[in-house]
C-alpha cells in the first residue's frame, strides 16, 4: 500500500495534475477577494455561503491547508522524480544510443559519401583523430565489418535538470521557513517619536522589537508641476541599551535599512498634524510687514482691525506648488479671498486686494511615516534557489549540445561513410555545422588514402 502510494507519487503522471491544480488554486485566489474582514464576506456571499467558502479556505487561498498540501506534494513528487532520474541520466551519459532516423526527429542531418583505398579500421582511426579535439572521447561499436562511432558534446548539460529541480525545492523550503519562522509587521511613527513594537501585517498582538526605532524626520519631495511624490524619505535612529546604535540613517522606497536581520522599508506616510503655514501681510497702513503662523481653519486678528483666516492649504496645488487660500475680513463687512502661491509671488500682486499684499513665507508639515518591517530566515535559501534556477534553465535550454554518429560500412572496393547528427546550438544551425563537418571529414579521408 505505502509502496504503491510512493510509486504513484514518484511518477510524472502526478506532476502534471499537480501543476494544473496549483495553477487553478492560484487562479481562485486572484478571482476571490482575499483576506477581507468577516463582515465583508457576509455582505458579499450571505450567511449560508460565506462560512462554507471560508471553510474551504477560499478567503485565504495561499495559506489554506489544501494549497500548502498541493505545494508539499509537488515538493515530494519533485524529490522522488529527480531521484529516479539519476540512474537514467547516468545511463544516457554512458550509453551508445541508436542513431536518430528521419521519422524520430526533425533535427537530424545525414549525408553519405564514399572513400576508397582505406581499411575500415584505418578510416575509423582517422575519424577518431579528426574529431578528438572537438568532442568527448569517441565510442565505438562493431557489427561485422561495419564500424559505428559515436561522439557527443555538452552531454553534461542534461544534469542541469537536477539543478533546476533542486532549485525549486530550495525556493519552496525558503518559502516554508519564512512562513514558519518569519514575520512581517509595520510601525507608524510620528516625526520625533520612537516605536518599540511592530503591528503584525496579518493582525494579532503587537510584537516587541527589542530596540527602539526613532523617526528623526520625514521629508517628501514632489515632482515639479505634479502632485506625484518624487521621493519620500525617513531618517531613523535605532536605540538599544540606552545607546544610539544607528544614527539618522535614511530609508527610502527601494532602499531599505537592515538591523539585526530585520529589514525596514519605507511603505507609506501621512500628515501627523495640520500644516503650520507662515503668511506675511503688507499694507500701507501697517508700519512693517506682519507675519503670522497658523493652520488651516485658524484665525488671527489683524493689527489694524479685522481678521486673517487661513481657509485652505496644499503643498502641491496643480502645477503651482505650495498654495494657500487666505481670507481677510475687514471692518465694514469687506471680505477678501486671496490665493497665495509660494513659488509665484508675482501672482499675489493682484488687483482688488484692497492694498493688501500676501506672501507665503513657508510652511511646515508634521508627518508620520509608515515603516514596513520584515524578518525572513528563508530568504537566503530563496536567493540560492533563484540563482540555480536561472543558471540551470539557461544551461539546460541554451547550452550547445551535439551528438554525432558516423558509420563506416565496408563495400566491395570502397567504404560508405554516413554522418548523422542531432543537436542544438543557439547560434549555428545543425545542418550547417554537420555539412561543414562532413565536408572536412571527406577531405581528410581522401587525403589519407
Amino acid at each position: 500500500m505505502t509502496e504503491r502510494l510512493l510509486r504513484t507519487l514518484a511518477s510524472l503522471r502526478v506532476t502534471l495534475p499537480l501543476l494544473f491544480g496549483l495553477a487553478l488554486g492560484a487562479l481562485l485566489g486572484t478571482v476571490m477577494p482575499q483576506n477581507l474582514g468577516e463582515a465583508d464576506y457576509l455582505r458579499l456571499f450571505g450567511p449560508t455561503l460565506a462560512p462554507l467558502l471560508g471553510m474551504l479556505g477560499l478567503f485565504d487561498v495561499y495559506r489554506s491547508p489544501w494549497f500548502i498540501t498541493l505545494l508539499g506534494l509537488l515538493a515530494l513528487n519533485l524529490c522522488l522524480c529527480t531521484w529516479r532520474l539519476v540512474p537514467a541520466l547516468r545511463r544516457t551519459l554512458r550509453e551508445f544510443p541508436p542513431a536518430p532516423t528521419a521519422a524520430r526527429t526533425g533535427r537530424h542531418f545525414s549525408e553519405p559519401f564514399s572513400v576508397t583505398g582505406l581499411s575500415p579500421e584505418e578510416a575509423a582511426r582517422a575519424v577518431e583523430t579528426f574529431l578528438a579535439n572537438r568532442f568527448s572521447p569517441l565510442r565505438r561499436r562493431q557489427e561485422g565489418e561495419t564500424i559505428h562511432l559515436f561522439a557527443q558534446r555538452g552531454a553534461w548539460t542534461r544534469l542541469a535538470v537536477i539543478t533546476i529541480h533542486g532549485s525549486v525545492l530550495l525556493i519552496l523550503a525558503g518559502g516554508a521557513a519564512g512562513l514558519l519562522w518569519g514575520f512581517q509587521g509595520y510601525a507608524v511613527i510620528r516625526e520625533g517619536e520612537t516605536a518599540h513594537e511592530l503591528l503584525p501585517t496579518r493582525g494579532g498582538k503587537p510584537l516587541p522589537l527589542g530596540f527602539g526605532l526613532r523617526c528623526d524626520d520625514f521629508s517628501v519631495a514632489f515632482h515639479e508641476g505634479h502632485r506625484l511624490p518624487r521621493e519620500f524619505k525617513s531618517r531613523v535612529s535605532i536605540l538599544e541599551g540606552g545607546q544610539t546604535v544607528v544614527e539618522r540613517q535614511p530609508i527610502t522606497v527601494n532602499a531599505p535599512l537592515g538591523y539585526r536581520g530585520i529589514r525596514f522599508y519605507q511603505s507609506n506616510y501621512g500628515p501627523a498634524a495640520p500644516p503650520q503655514v507662515t503668511l506675511q501681510i503688507r499694507h500701507p497702513s501697517l508700519p512693517h510687514p506682519w507675519e503670522q503662523t497658523l493652520a488651516p481653519g485658524e484665525n488671527r486678528p489683524l493689527p489694524g482691525g479685522g481678521t486673517l483666516r487661513l481657509l485652505r492649504f496644499s503643498p502641491t496645488f496643480r502645477e503651482f506648488g505650495p498654495t494657500a487660500l487666505a481670507e481677510l475680513l475687514l471692518p465694514g463687512n469687506q471680505e477678501l479671498t486671496l490665493p497665495v502661491f509660494k513659488n509665484h509671488p508675482e501672482l499675489s500682486d493682484h488687483h482688488g486686494g484692497g492694498g493688501f499684499r500676501l506672501k507665503l513665507v513657508g510652511f511646515r508639515q508634521p508627518y508620520y511615516t509608515v515603516l514596513l518591517a520584515g524578518y525572513d530566515p528563508g530568504v537566503g535559501l530563496v536567493w540560492a534557489g533563484f540563482l540555480l534556477l536561472g543558471g540551470g534553465l539557461a544551461t539546460a535550454l541554451l547550452w550547445p549540445r551535439r551528438r554525432i554518429w558516423i558509420s563506416i560500412v565496408a563495400g566491395r572496393d570502397r567504404l560508405d561513410i554516413a554522418v548523422t547528427g542531432e543537436g542544438r546550438h543557439p547560434l549555428r544551425p545543425e545542418e550547417a555545422f554537420l555539412a561543414t563537418l562532413s565536408h572536412e571529414l571527406r577531405r581528410r579521408l581522401a587525403k589519407g588514402s
Binding site: 501543476l19 492560484a26 486572484t30 515632482h223 522599508y265 514596513l372 534556477l389 539557461a394 544551425p429
Partner: protein
Amino acid sequence: MSSTVLINAATLFLFGALLCLLLFAVGGKHRFGNWAQAAAAAGFLALTGALLLRWRESYRLLGGEGHIPLTNFYESLLFFAWALLLVHFLLQLRFRLPLLGTMAIPSALLALLAAQWSADAAIRPLVPALKSNWLTFHVATCFLGYAAFAAGAAAAMLLVARKSQASKMEKGLLPGPELLEEIHLQAVTVGFLLLTLGILTGSAWAHGAWGSYWSWDPKETWSLIVWLIYAAWLHARLSRGWSGKRLAWLSLLGFAATLFCWLGVNLLLPGLHSYGGM
C-alpha cells in the same frame, strides 16, 4: 522629429505590410511577399527609433528623472509590438518563409493601434517604487518572453489547423508540420526561460521595494499560473512524449493565460502592479 511621428510611420508601414501579405496570400506573387517583409522591416526600424526617441524625450521633459519607455500601459503595448517583430525577424532570418509573418505583423499592428487609440501617451515622472535598476531587466525579460510565447502560439495555431493550411505548406509558403513543431518548441522554450528570468528579477526587486519577495499580488500570481502551465508543457513534451496537436493546445492555453497576465490583470484586477493600468 518626435517619437509620435515615428510611431505613426511604423503603423503605416505595418499596415502596408499587412496589405502586401494579403495580396501575396491571395495571388501568390512572390513580389508581394518580399514587399511585405520590406515594409515590416521598415516598421520595425521606425518603432525601434520611436522607442529610443521617446527615451530621449523623457530626459528632455523630466531632466534627471527621465526613464526607459517601459513604465506604463502605452509603453508596454509599444514594446510588445516591437518584441513581436523582433521575434518574427529572428525566425525569418532562420527559416526564410514568406508567410511566417501572417500572425506577427497583424498582431504588432493591433498592439500599435490599441496603444494609439486607448492608452495614455503622456510621459510622466516615475513613482518612487519604480525607480530601480531592476526596471529595465524585469520588464524587458517579461515582455520578450510574452512575444516568444506569442510566436509559439502562432505556430501552435497552425499545427492545430494544419489540415486547412496543407496546400500553403506544400507550396513552401508556410512551414510544414515538422518545421512548425520545431518553431513551436524553440519559441516556447526561449519564452519559458525569459519568463522565469522575468519572475526572478521581479521577485528580487519586490524584496527591495515592497518588503517581500512574493506577495501573491494578482500580477505575481498570474505570472506563476503562466509559469506552471508552461512548466507542465515542458514536462509533457520532455518526459511524457507529447507532441503535435495535443502539445499545441497546451501551448495555446499557456498563451491565453499570458494574455490575461498582461491585459486581464492590468485592466481588471487591482494590485501592486497597477502602474500598468489604463
